[in-house]
Symmetry: C2
Subunit: 361 residues, 2 copies
């Protein structure tokens, strides 16, 4: 019985994942209805603004849902001040007799209230099934709701000896095709990718999704002095409204006008010093724009600043099987930053190492 519960919750996770890249700032949610040991309905949250997973499972069901058990990775919602009607009253109305969830919704308007309402209506509720896996699946959502900041991942492609390029301002391709594909997959799942102005000057990237199917992320460039070349590919894309420039308040207004005319969005951030932008301020501005997750792609100065200001949740190292010796390292921080190894595996000829924060620091 217990393993059946885990099995159905795992299927909810799999369903939920289908929404990756499309539901933000909402969570990824999958739902399954089971009656007499048989799955009678399933659904997932497909797109921000569209029906919730529970509603889709109920609507797709092949039998009457009364008396069935609803499996869902997240606590059903009970608040009305949003785009779609709440799920809890529907579950009660449809006489679903039991609800099994992985995580309570961290959103204060729902947190434990959804479960409470269900129980008060006589619905049996089981909670915290595979709760760590559930939290990991919705790591963007949990971070965003709890800290009101995006989940930040530093993605660093490097040599064995921690070099990201052969020399300053020299584009160096280190990793193989499997790593490239993996990066494009990440881009299709994160709300935004972020680079510094130096990366635009050196690599002239598009930062779009090309090697896998998926939607393009918002492209964010931190450029305190606003001096990236106007001919850069990223400033001349088909969807200029998806390229956002973060700059300082004291920058030349004429420059901003040129960029705005191209259709790009420019955000001006207050700075203490001349043009040094504080990451936390930037992240708060981006969170207000409903950016729940950011993939930081470089370069060295950007990585250093995120590490130094402790503004990251995850570091993904794609390590190519090369020793560069001389070259540009991943950071110029002065103090040791301790991380925690979460996972490591081969990725083609490269190695994918995933680190999280070291909370004992």
């Amino acid at each position: 019985m217990k393993s059946d519960i885990s099995k159905y919750i795992k299927r909810c996770f799999e369903l939920a994942k289908k929404g990756k890249g499309h539901v933000s700032p909402n969570p990824l949610v999958g739902a399954i209805l089971v009656k007499n040991g048989k799955v009678i309905g399933k659904g997932y949250h497909k797109k921000y603004g569209s029906a919730h997973a529970e509603v889709n499972a109920i609507n797709n069901s092949t039998e009457k849902v009364a008396g069935s058990t609803l499996y869902c990775n997240l606590e059903p919602c009970c608040h009305a001040n949003k785009q779609t009607p709440p799920c809890v009253p529907l579950i009660i109305e449809k006489k679903i007799s039991k609800v099994v969830i992985s995580n309570f919704d961290p959103n204060k308007e729902v947190n434990r209230k959804g479960v409470k309402q269900l129980r008060e209506a006589g619905v049996e509720v089981i909670t915290d099934v595979l709760e760590n896996e559930g939290k990991d699946l919705n790591k963007f959502y949990f971070k965003y709701v709890k800290d009101k900041l995006p989940y930040i991942t530093l993605k660093i492609a490097q040599s064995i000896d921690g070099k990201i390029s052969l020399a300053r301002n020299k584009q160096t391709w280190l990793t193989g095709k499997e790593s490239k594909k993996f990066v494009h997959k990440l881009r299709s799942e994160y709300d935004a990718v972020l680079v510094g102005a130096g990366t635009i000057r050196t690599d002239n990237p598009l930062l779009t999704v090309r090697n896998v199917k998926g939607r393009n992320p918002i492209r964010i460039i931190i450029d305190g002095k606003l001096n990236i070349p106007l001919k850069s590919k990223i400033l001349n894309s088909n969807d200029p409204e998806s390229t956002w420039i973060i700059t300082s308040r004291n920058v030349d207004e004429k420059k901003i006008k040129v960029l705005s005319k191209k259709g790009l969005r420019v955000f001006k951030i207050a700075t203490k010093r001349q043009t040094k932008l504080e990451l936390k301020k930037i992240m708060k501005v981006l969170a207000k724009q409903k950016i729940t997750s950011i993939l930081v792609e470089g370069g060295r100065n950007i990585f250093s600043q995120f590490l130094k200001e402790d503004m990251f949740d995850e570091v993904i190292i794609l390590q190519a099987p090369k020793v560069l010796g001389s070259g540009i390292g991943i950071s110029n921080i002065k103090k040791i930053k301790n991380l925690k190894l979460l996972s490591v595996k081969k990725l083609g000829d490269d190695t994918k190492l995933i680190y999280g924060k070291n909370l004992s620091d």
Copy 2:
């Protein structure tokens, strides 16, 4: 039947491994005698100069060996100009009817001759069973016999960003206790460990085996100018004859006398330039001393030289979950060195990455 053959050869590998650290310059060999589906005898080569695995298996057998099958990871020997009598005549004399091996012996005096003699005497011989695993088990022996050079492994403990210490001449402990234990295990298996004079000055190591059971390796120091401090722990060990100093011919003879008086061995190598030692010359000298395997433990200049001169067979990276930013990198080579990832796994909080040569270079 086929899987039975593999199973018995695997057991030979396991038996052979018991000799690790004790049989050099001989190969690791294990042997099993099977009669009517039952193991009737097993043995392994325990120590250089002592009986071969085949002889031990025959001597340990619980039944008459006539008509049995001998499993052995290496081709039985047929040459007499050595410490122990050859195995092939014994196998024939004992009327063993079948021999199954993993590898032909690369030693020219035996290579394919042992198998030929057995077949000529009417013994059925099956060869090349799990031959890659067999070669990997005896990688030291194959390298030493084929190239007349030791098998060289660079062992590098580093941060994520490829730093081995915080600053020049500053000892920095990066990796955890599991990595330390692993290094001591390696030391107990390699014939010798090797470091540069800088590592002696900075870390003042003993380079002995302490965290695991096992014998101490020969400790080799490359010190072209012969200026390591005479108080260094490594120059004052209980077994000074196991500490070898490699220096240049043009060094002060008085310095050599002081070291020789302590019981240490000093090797003088001819140099083209003032004191720059060529690694290949050093390795040839060490191979003549029957050193078949060397674990190179640092520091940066030594790693750089081995990489530059292409004098390595394997690179083991023990990567600690830290970003150092500033600090001393693993090498100062100027040209990219491509390697090949062989394996990667977690080791405590660290990551163990094993690289081999990239032969497509």
